[in-house]
């Protein structure tokens, strides 16, 4: 099929970017979206032009590196997948496709379609862990029985891949879904209780410092999340935070 692509090109963080038009022929329906971009880049290189840079790595939907706004939606039109899992069978011959980087103040553009998401790392560094000595000899794993339902809920929160689609989808560029998933994973486990109060306070403080917006319960984050992270986590984080404030 033949596609008309409009792609955001930006040399680096300090230069101004712009949309550039490309026409691409010979796209097959069983190609992934990123393989389609690979082919575009091969063409550009053969013409001596600079290829379009985009973040990607595992191409299996789990590392969370790929991050494209496709026709205004994070990770494109299909639900519950990352861009690397999006296949061209979701598009038709002659389609125009608009491709942009994640849109959020806290995610500055690095180059073309690549953004800097280290704000997410700093939120986790503020308290997204359980403080156990990694070189020690902890108690036997089965000495901490955990209700299956709680373990599963914790796992579901922990499946967040930190891609940033929730932020990009949010009209306020809020990081509540991401942060709440990280808080919830530990809040649901007995091991995580000891530092629960400090954890939620520190992580929320860091999230605000990074310049993410507020949550207005629109729910776009949950809809666009490739892993289906639930809004329940935001409610849980709010409760944890309220408890921490009262206790604090």
């Amino acid at each position: 099929m033949k596609l008309y692509l409009k792609i955001w090109r930006q040399k680096n963080a300090s230069t101004k970017g712009q949309m550039v038009d490309y026409t691409l022929n010979g796209v097959e329906s069983d190609m992934s979206f990123l393989e389609m971009l690979d082919i575009l880049n091969e063409e550009l290189i053969s013409k001596g032009e600079e290829p379009v840079e985009f973040d990607h790595d595992c191409r299996e939907g789990i590392c969370g590196t790929c991050s494209l706004m496709i026709n205004g939606r994070p990770h494109g039109p299909d639900s519950r997948i990352t861009v690397c899992q999006l296949h061209m069978r979701s598009f038709n011959d002659g389609d125009e496709i608009v491709i942009e980087p994640w849109r959020a103040k806290a995610f500055p553009v690095v180059k073309d379609l690549i953004v800097d998401r280290t704000a997410f790392d700093r939120i986790q560094q503020a308290g997204g862990y359980i403080s156990v000595n990694t070189s020690g000899r902890p108690v036997d794993a089965n000495a901490i029985p955990i209700e299956k339902d709680m373990a599963d809920k914790s796992f579901n929160a922990a499946t967040c891949i930190g891609c940033g689609a929730c932020v990009a989808a949010c009209k306020n560029a809020s990081a509540m879904l991401f942060t709440s998933a990280k808080v919830s994973q530990f809040a649901l486990l007995p091991q995580g209780q000891v530092e629960a109060v400090e954890r939620v306070e520190n992580m929320v403080r860091q999230m605000d410092l990074e310049g993410f917006g507020n949550c207005t319960n629109t729910g776009a984050c949950e809809i666009e999340c490739p892993k289906g992270i639930s809004l329940e986590n935001i409610a849980r984080m709010n409760r944890e935070y309220l408890f921490a404030s009262v206790k604090g």
Binding site: K11, E28, D30, M31, L34, E35, D38, E42, I45, P51, E53, D55, H56, D57, C58, R59, E60, G61, I62, G64, T65, R80, I81, Q85, H87, R89, V110, K111, I114, R117, T118, F120, D121, Q124, Q125, A126, G127, Y129, I130, S131, V132, N133, T134, S135, P138, V139, A141, N142, P145, I146, E147, K148, A151, S154, F155, A158, T159, G162, Q185, Q191
Partner: protein, 667 residues
């Protein structure tokens, strides 16, 4: 150099590690504050090593090419992590895990290392649970287990099909705690371009900031390479796109021996190749073989009809299907080790029984499991006289709970519903058992340069059993390296900070900038991927699932020619002064073009079939791999002497004192 001293402790196997820990030198906590360690790579091995070294008090700098340490490809590991906990009471023990691993590795791993791995495996689970890793649980709240290929017990701990993700997030969380404490400084979007040696010791690295293109000097008292494997030299593989051999290869060029480069794991359950545009292959977890039955049609005409789209697999009855693994290997059935399952699939497809358009796929069928689970669920729910459709629905729900994400992934890629029609699978390159040669302390042949996880060679032998890679990465990082590195660093307590303005750093940096300049100066027309794909084709066709002397000789010649062409004709647009993904790829492919030749040379040298290395000249009348223990029970460790063709072979003889070397049989 020339003598490979494994530094294996003497004495009874079960006491070796304890004895070693008691005897090696320690560094006083106050002195650890004066010692710097560089860790390159932040996957399971690097992340856990960095966190633990920082916990102990060393100053750690970590480097990864990704934008966050948590994106390392360990995250994509699906199935699980082994540990000899014997929670199921099915007869597991440290010795049995050790035995299965050595046997599964076709007796080409080091006995003492593997025993230690089995020994510390139980600590890994305790550690990860304490860190909040949400492993699967039974209703009683205790940890659940499942079984994997090549073993007869259930010792695999898992978190649905995302075990690697959860374990990596655990290690990453531990890293974050140390970053917050100021004990780890994390350099992301950075790539190591050279290793710096001062007085013969590893004392730092030259790295490139991939965002602004700046070349940086970083010094340390020791350097740990935890940079994963080199399977991307095949171009198509289950590796992430950025996985490379750069750090290990640079260390090799500076004197670290490269061991068993030809030992590659081909994983049997990947989604088959669909076309020429394909950039990578996706794995379906081996755990699926617990419930999936593998088959091809019994009759050639049925296979052909399926390929032509005239017949559906669901139209073939039980008696028209060949469950070839169950037929050939009744004891292990669909759970034979990966090399055996892979070769058996290739054998059937080569014989004309393949089931996709290209004839390179077999079926992995869940219909029997779905009905079995459905019937059990109906009974336990008190439902009587239910019809097949209801049973199927109930069964599909159970299978979804176990493997839902994998089924979803398959459906997205192939556009077929695997609950209704069998999956198609085919073997693909998945893991490299070769890597930098290390001694018992995980030190390479360069003093102060260590290798951990997939980047070293020691534990998996010629073939890796399932759920053992995560185990090795975490064992090395959490429990082995942090001890053994102290033995070396105890001599460095008075050294003080290592200056980066020495002639050695000057020379290494010049070396790096010259090479970048040379890459950028290419005037040809071909992209980096053009060369990478060509290399991949040579590797897969002549050094892949089966190899022979004639084709290996051809491969060596073709790779050398391709390398020459690359350096003359590669075209890299843009500049080296900022983000430039083509330049990043070019540096990596340039290394693959050297390693590929050494790989083929190693395969040619090894006149036996063994694990993932199947030489067509050496097979039994039944087509099974024929090992030659008398002549090849050794590790081949290659010393860099200039061109890959000049590499010098050193042999570490493998001694088995505690295990009887037998013919591997899974019948």
């Amino acid at each position: 150099m020339g003598v490979l001293d494994s530094k294996e402790p003497q004495g009874p196997l079960a006491n070796k590690w304890t004895k070693h820990k008691n005897e090696i030198d320690l560094v006083n906590p106050a002195n650890k504050r004066n010692i710097d360690i560089i860790v390159v790579g932040t996957g399971l091995a690097g992340g856990s090593a960095a966190a633990t070294l920082a916990e102990l008090g060393y100053n750690v700098k970590t480097f990864c090419y990704q934008d966050s340490p948590r994106r390392a490809h360990s995250i994509a590991a699906q199935g699980g992590v082994n540990a000899a906990k014997n929670y199921q009471g099915d007869g597991d023990s440290v010795y049995r895990l050790f035995y299965d691993t050595v046997k599964g590795g076709d007796y080409r791993s080091r006995e003492s290392n593997v025993y230690r791995l089995a020994e510390v495996s139980t600590n890994i689970i305790d550690q990860c649970v304490a860190q909040g890793v949400p492993f699967a649980r039974e209703y009683g709240g205790l940890l659940d287990n499942r079984s994997f290929g090549g073993v007869l017990v259930s010792r695999t701990f898992y978190a649905k099909g995302q075990t690697g993700q959860q374990l990596l997030l655990g290690a990453y969380a531990a890293m974050n705690r140390q970053i917050q404490r100021g004990k780890i400084k994390s350099y992301t979007r950075h790539e190591m371009l050279d290793l710096v040696l001062v007085d013969g010791k590893a004392r730092g690295i030259i790295a490139r900031d991939l965002v602004n293109g700046e070349i940086e000097r970083h010094s340390a008292h020791a350097v740990v390479l935890a940079t994963g494997g080199y399977g991307n030299l095949f171009f198509l593989s289950t590796y992430c796109m950025g996985a490379n051999v750069m750090a290990a290869w640079k260390a090799h060029k500076k004197g670290a021996f490269f061991a068993n480069p030809c030992f590659t794991q081909i994983h049997p359950t990947c989604i088959p190749v669909s076309g020429d545009h394909q950039s990578k292959l996706t794995l379906m977890s081996e755990s699926l073989r617990n419930d999936g039955r593998i088959w091809v049609p019994k009759r050639l005409e049925d296979a052909q009809a399926i390929r032509e789209g005239k017949l559906k697999p669901t139209q073939l009855g039980e008696e028209e299907r060949d469950y070839y693994l169950e037929r050939r290997y009744p004891a292990f059935g669909n759970l034979v080790p990966r090399d055996v399952a892979s070769r058996a699939a290739k054998e059937r497809c080569d014989a004309g029984f393949g089931v996709n358009k290209t004839g390179e796929a077999v079926y992995l069928d869940f219909s029997a499991a779905i009905m079995r689970y459905g019937r059990e669920k109906a009974l336990t729910s008190g439902m009587k006289d239910v019809d097949d459709n209801t049973i199927r629905e109930l069964g599909e729900k159970i299978v979804e709970a176990k493997y839902g994400n994998l089924f979803q992934m398959y459906e997205k890629i192939v556009d077929e519903n695997p609950y209704k029609t069998p999956m198609m699978i085919y073997p693909a390159v998945h893991y490299t058992m070769g890597g930098l040669w290390v001694d018992y302390n995980l030190q390479t042949t360069i003093p102060g340069c260590y290798a951990a996880g997939e980047a070293n060679f020691s534990d998996h032998g010629a073939n890796r059993l399932g759920a053992s890679a995560l185990m090795q990465g975490l064992a090395d990082g959490y429990f082995v390296l942090p001890y053994t590195i102290g033995d070396y660093l105890s001599d460095d307590i008075r050294t003080g900070p290592i200056p980066t303005d020495s002639p050695e750093f000057d020379a290494a940096e010049k070396n790096v900038t010259d090479r970048l300049q040379k890459l950028m100066s290419g005037t040809g027309i071909h992209s980096v991927d053009y060369y990478h794909k060509k290399l991949g084709k040579i590797m897969w066709n002549k050094c892949g699932m089966s190899r022979n002397a004639k084709e290996l000789k051809e491969a060596i010649k073709e790779i050398a020619e391709l390398r020459k062409d690359f350096w003359e004709n590669v075209k890299i647009p843009g500049s080296p002064d900022g983000k430039n993904q083509e330049l990043e790829k070019a540096g990596r492919v340039a290394d693959f073009l050297e390693l590929g030749e050494l790989f083929a040379k190693d395969a040619l040298e090894r006149n036996e079939s063994c694990g993932g290395h199947f030489r067509e000249e050496y097979q039994t009348p039944e087509g099974e791999a024929l090992r030659d223990d008398e002549n090849f029970k050794f590790v081949s460790a290659w010393e860099y002497m200039g061109e890959p063709s000049d590499a010098k072979l050193h042999k570490e003889d493998l001694v088995y004192e505690n295990i009887k070397v037998k013919t591997r049989s899974y019948k």
